[in-house]
């Protein structure tokens, strides 16, 4: 069973009386352990596609199943639980909570889940060590570099042991050296922990390292939709 299965999915946005067709007739299957890049020009629908896969948005038409679950049939609370348990998020702007330390930020998904502080702390520390910033656990985001913040963001995405990590332009705000480190880290986690990574990017450095490329243009998959 594929981890992600999209059949004839489309997504429309309404800007006043204008309809914007962000995605049109998407058919896509992504299996477990894949390392997939969604790429294409600006406005091609990359972020919209990731939003649908991550269950923070709903398709206008078509079927979308994540780990066998029909996303459209879930209530808002069930979607929240699904995101918390199954999906890890890495944002372009890191999206760390500024009033929390690195450790507290990473503990957050576990605490949302209802884990005890001790358990959450233990797992968060382990993930922070894994991404190589075990010595910065008490630092707040404002006292960390972009690369360090993105590592915290990755640790946060992984702390719940998700089967899927969604990253929206994860290296866009990083310099080359840091971007390489982040790519290597993601690749390593993909291979070591068998976590599926799906990310959108323009970054050629990242495209060279992925196992599968899905190219979008004008809301349609023009290449890589079927598994090679």
């Amino acid at each position: 069973m594929p981890l992600i299965e999209m059949k004839n999915v489309s997504k429309d946005y309404y800007l006043g009386e204008t309809v914007v067709h962000a995605l049109r007739g998407i058919d896509l299957q992504i299996d477990k352990k894949e390392f997939v890049a969604i790429w294409g020009p600006s406005g091609s629908g990359k972020t919209t596609l990731l939003n649908l896969i991550s269950a923070i948005d709903e398709p206008t038409t078509g079927d979308l199943a994540i780990a066998g679950k029909d996303v459209r049939s879930l209530t808002d609370n069930q979607k929240s639980e699904h995101r918390n348990e199954t999906i890890g998020f890495i944002f372009q702007g890191f999206n760390l909570v500024p009033v929390l330390s690195a450790l507290e930020n990473v503990m957050l998904p576990l605490q949302i889940k209802g884990a005890s502080a001790t358990e959450a702390r233990k797992q968060a520390l382990s993930r922070l060590e894994e991404v190589g910033i075990g010595d910065l656990i008490n630092n707040r985001p404002a006292k960390m570099s972009g690369g360090q913040q993105q590592r915290v963001s990755i640790a946060r995405a992984l702390v719940n042991n998700p089967s899927l990590v969604i990253a929206d332009e994860p290296t866009a705000n990083l310099d080359s050296a840091t971007a390489h480190m982040i790519i290597d880290l993601m690749r390593e986690l993909n291979e070591k922990d068998n976590i599926t990574f799906i990310f959108s990017t323009h970054d050629q450095r990242l495209l060279d390292r992925v196992k599968r490329l899905v190219r979008l243009e004008d809301g349609k998959i023009v290449n890589g939709g079927a598994k090679q």
Partner: protein
Amino acid sequence: MMKWIKLAVRNILRNKRRSFVTLLAIGVGFAAISLFHGYVDRVYWGLRVMAIHGEGLGHLRVNKAGWQEKGKLEPEKYMFSKEDTQKIIKLAKEENTVILATPQIQVTGIVTNGIASTIFIAQGVVPKDDKAIKGAWADFLPIKGQTLNDEKLYGVEIAEDLSNYLNLTQDKDGVVMAPTLSGQMNALDIKINGVYNTGSEFSNDKFMRFNFYFAQSLLDTHSAERIVILLKDWQDTERMRTILLTKLKAAGIDCEIRTWEELSLFFAKQKEFLKVMLTFLFSIVLVIVVMTAVNTMGMAILERTREIGTLRALGLKRRGVSLLFALEGALLGFFGSIIGIIVHTCVWAIIKIYPPKYTPPGMAVPIDLVVNMVPWMLFVLLFCFVLFSMFAALIPARRAAKQNIVDSLGHV
């Protein structure tokens, strides 16, 4: 829960200036209500003491049944005989909570100095019992001269304005005239023992106090109009009314009992007026607090829209977002109330050390402005402010929680 409280506290501290202004607004509002309530509490106390001790109403007044409606028309029929009076006093004094039960009689008539005359309303009281009823009030407005006594039955006390009007000062002689119970005009010589201030400008030019037996002589009767009962604790008033009413009716005495609160119309009106004022003030402050909290939380939510989107993406449910902001609102209410308690205590202490003087409406003399410290009220207010701030935060929080996650994440 602690982690969310910690997060809420840090979020409050995120914009220190805005939070400080909000806390100050809540604190000042809290202090305004609590201080005014403290003042009202003191006024209630003052009015109660004035009614029970100053006006000499005691806690309970026993009259013959029907006296209220028809007593003025047929006084003798609605007065207690000497035997009934003694019986009532004996039965009342059997109760532990009763300090004393004493007969009284009211006389209205004309008082003259031989040249000018005017109307008076006098209470005929037993001197030693009246002294007990007055208690500490006698020190607040002491009598100039001698008090009533049993040695000189015709010695009377006269209210200050009436004394001034007739120039009847201490040791001067006058005459009081009043109709007896059978309707004949009677007149008796008096000597002014002392001059007193009733504390109320409405009664200070009319009131006199006679020895009970002198009043009986003037009315040509051996009866008593009422029995005034003084209790150890005013809070027993209602309970004792029920007990005594049952007891006296069982003993064959057909009577009616009124409480000091029913008899003192001034107290009832003042209490109602102050209650309206307090409610009005509370409503205004409440609106200010709620609007301030809504505004502060609204701004905070607007600034943190992206963060809300992130938390929702990470799996926080809508209810969780609402609760997080409600918690922040509640904490604003709590810390604001703590500031309010501090402001209240400081102002209370300053007023206690340097009490300003003022003459309240209806009073004949200036008194100290005193604010009572009412701890239970501070707790009630704290609870209310926390609750209202929390609900105020819930209004924008619910809106934020319902926002589309994609829109929230894209918010700049």
